[in-house]
Structure formats: C-alpha cells, structure tokens
C-alpha cells in the first residue's frame, strides 16, 4: 500500500469548485423549496379539496421515493416530457427541489397545526379573516417551531446533493470521484472527500443543535 496524499493538494482547485457547487445547489434548492413548501402546506390546509388533494398527492409521492431515483428519472424523463434539454445541473436542482419542497411542506403544515385551534378562533372572533389570522397570529408563532426543523433539513439537503453526482453534476462527490478515476489514488481521494464533507457538515450539524436549543418549544 503506497499512498500519495499530494494528489489532494494538487486537486485543491477542482475540489474547491466542487465544494462551491455543492453549496450553490443547497442554497438554490432551499430558496425554491421553502416558498414551495409553504405553498404546498397552505394548499393542503385550504378548504378547496382540489388544492388539498393535489398538494397531498404531490407531497406523498415525493416523500415516498428514493431521491437517487428521482434524480435519474428527472434526467431521462424530463427532456422527453418537456421537450427541452436541461443541463445536468438544472436537472439535479429540479430533482432536489421536488424532494425538499415535499418535506418542507410537512414541516410547515405541522408547525401551523401545532398552534392551538383557539388562537385561530380568537382571531376570527375579533372579525379577522382566516388569511389575516394566519398571517398575524399563526405564522409568527409557527416559525419558531419550524426553524429548527428547516435547519435540520438544510443539513440533510447538503448531504443529499452528493446524489446528483450520478448524473455528472460537478459538485464535490462527483469531482472527487472523477479525480480518483483519473489518478488511481483511490484511498486518498475517497478519504479526502469524506474529510471535506465532514469539515463542512460537522459545524452545520452543531449549529442545528444550537438552533434546537435556542428555539426549542417553550409553550
């Protein structure tokens, strides 16, 4: 077993680009999946059974599929269905957004439902509409419950971006695996990949713990 760790240092540029792409994917996905999740949650809680049904179907579908399968499906089927060629990056982003929106919608829904029914009634008794009561009374209370779960979802998403490597999106996992194939430095690159994910992910996980402590349910 002869190891040559210099390959890691030599590839630092490519690895850094991979890291940046991982971070970019995570940020973009959350930017879409948070409003997406709120929309789906409100649809599911609405009085229209069509909206509620559509939202429930969407959410149940994407919560019950392996993400890696959704990535492949998006890659092969979307061009056929939509008739346009999307870049792997966009395809991966779409798959991630579909998946994370579904999860987030459940987070928002249970956050909203966790607020006592009497709060909505008190608002309605004052003459507010349901929408007004949602905005003024329910949401301000619900976001405290929702924030820690969203933080946790962020960290999971960060890890899940590694799955879009299978359709050759140049994030960290794909980059590291490419360098491994080209250089034959298997142990070194795989270990470096794990260590880099650890260095990025560990502080995030600790941050999530802190958020849970700070915003933990006080009621």
């Amino acid at each position: 077993m002869n190891l040559d760790w210099s390959i890691v240092w030599q590839s630092r540029g490519a690895l850094l680009e991979g890291v940046l792409l991982t971070i970019l994917l995570t940020i973009l996905t959350m930017l879409i999946a948070i409003p997406g999740g709120i929309l789906l949650a409100l649809m599911r809680l609405s009085r229209s059974s069509i909206l509620a049904g559509a939202s429930t179907s969407f959410v149940e579908l994407f919560r019950n599929l392996p993400l890696i399968l959704v990535v492949y499906w998006a890659f092969y089927v979307m061009p056929v269905l939509l008739g346009i060629e999307l870049s792997p990056f966009t395809t991966g982003l779409v798959a991630l957004c579909l998946n994370v929106s579904a999860y987030n919608s459940e987070t928002f829904r249970s956050g909203i439902n966790s607020i006592r029914k009497g709060q909505m009634e008190a608002g309605v008794a004052l003459g507010m509409s349901r929408a007004q009561a949602m905005r003024q009374i329910i949401f301000p209370q619900a976001w405290r419950r929702v924030l820690p779960v969203l933080a946790s979802a962020w960290v999971s998403l960060f890890k899940d971006t590694s799955l879009v490597s299978v359709i050759a999106v140049g994030e960290l996992a794909h980059t590291a695996l490419q360098i491994r194939s080209q250089s034959f430095r298997v142990l070194e690159m795989l270990t470096a990949m794990a260590v880099i994910y650890w260095l990025l992910g560990y502080p995030q996980a600790k941050l999530v713990d802190w958020i849970y402590r700070k915003f933990g349910i006080t009621e």
Partner: protein, 252 residues
C-alpha cells in the same frame, strides 16, 4: 319587568338546533337577549351552553332554527359573518391571548387588523382599555409574564377594543385560580353596570345571582327553565333546576 323589554332584543334564538355527528348539542333552544341585559347560561357540562354561545358568533354553524342579531338573521356567507363578528366580543375560557404580542399589542390588534385603524390611534384606545381593566402598568408585558386573572382581563380589553354591541363570555373564570377569579368578575360587573349587553356561560353562581338580569338553565341541549335570578335561585319552577343547584351545593 324584564330589563330592556321595551326594545327589540339584541340577540334572538329561535328553535336553534346543532348536532355534532350523532350527538345533539342543541335541541330546539329559544331565548332572547335584551339590550343592556346580562344573561347568564348555567347548567351541567355538555348541556349546550357553550355551543349556543359559539353559534352566536358563527364559530359553529347551526343545523336548524335561526339566530337573529340586531334584527337580521346570521348570514351563512363567511365574509358577511366576519363583518357581524366585529359587533360581538368574545372572551374564551383559556384566554387565548396572542403570546407573541404584548398586552397592549393584543388589545390593539383587533382595531389595526380588522378596522384598519392606524397604530397610534389603536394603541391609544388600547391603553385606555387596559387602564379600565386595571392593567395600565402591564401594557408592555407579554402574556407569559401575566397571571391567569391578568391575562383574562387583557382578553376582555381586547374584545372591548372592537366596541361591540354584545359581549360573549365562555366560562371566563373556569381556568383561573380562586384568588384571581374575583378580579375578573369585578371587571365584568363594572361592564354590566355600564350597560353592556352580556351573555355569560358560567359556573359562578354567586356572580349569576348578583349580576345577571336573566338566567337560562340548560340541560342536555334544551332550556329547562329561564327567568330572573330571584326565580331561578330562590324559587325555581323546575325540579331539574333545583337538582342542578343543589348538586352545586347552592344554599342561597
């Protein structure tokens, strides 16, 4: 002569029916609330008193009969109902103050959100009302830092901020420690003396005896007896009223 008898009633209940699935909560209840009257609804738990109250401001929809408020039947359209709710104030058993707002914020939220009042005016009105319920010094406090009795008084001020024509109280003191019940009942008594029309679901018989102008006794979704407190508490016509009161240890 019953108080307010010369004028049309503020609320009229005509044969009101309400079911929850198989359970009949209200089985043809008829009664009326006159202007300036304090009407107390008493009776065992589950007898329909709270349900009737919640039907009055449309939190529950009735299944039969009608409820007439200030001369008009309650609409079935939610948007129209919302406008009517502005003229009714409701105080809940567990206060339901908004925990993310101060006492002042809670009292002002109705005028700002629903009446479109500007913040300064709403806050001024809120300050006056908090003073009226004896909590001027707690204006900046959050509900978590207030006792139960204080929270309920803020809740009363919050309902009053909308300047309603009738105040609906749903067991306002049932969730309070005995020491704090008095402060809330005093506020309600003062409100009654000012001439506010009030419908109060309560287990506080002393309050009903002293402050109510009209008492309605419920049992299993129906009105068993109704009349002035002197009748209900001292010379009830119905054996069921007598049973209910003696169960509570009411000796007069």
């Amino acid at each position: 002569m019953r108080k307010g008898a010369g004028e049309p009633p503020i609320v009229l209940y005509e044969n009101v029916r309400k079911r929850f699935g198989q359970f009949v909560a209200l089985n043809g209840v008829s009664a009326q609330v006159n202007k300036g009257e304090v009407m107390c609804l008493i009776g065992p738990s589950g007898s329909g008193k709270s349900t009737l109250l919640r039907c009055t401001n449309g939190l529950e929809k009735i299944d039969g009969g009608r409820i007439v408020f200030e001369g008009e039947s309650l609409p079935s359209d939610e948007r129209a109902m919302r406008i009517i709710r502005r003229r009714m104030g409701m105080v809940f058993q567990n206060f339901e103050l908004f925990p993310h707002k101060t006492a002042l914020g809670n009292v002002a939220i109705g005028p700002t959100t629903v009446l479109g009042m500007n913040e300064a005016e709403a806050n001024a009105r809120a300050a006056i009302l908090l003073d009226k319920v004896g909590l001027a010094d707690k204006a900046a406090s959050y509900p978590a830092n207030l006792s139960g009795g204080q929270q309920q008084r803020v809740a009363i001020a919050r309902a009053l901020a909308m300047e309603p024509d009738v105040m609906l109280f749903d067991e306002p003191t049932s969730a309070l420690d005995p020491e704090t019940i008095g402060e809330v009942l005093n506020v309600m008594k003062a409100l009654a003396e000012e001439g506010m029309t009030m419908v109060v679901v309560t287990h506080e018989m002393t309050f009903a005896r002293r402050v109510a102008n009209w008492v309605v006794v419920f049992e299993r979704g129906a009105v068993v007896e109704q009349g002035p407190p002197t009748q209900i508490f001292e010379a009830p016509h119905s054996a069921r009223t007598r049973d209910f009161l003696s169960h509570l240890g009411w000796g007069g």
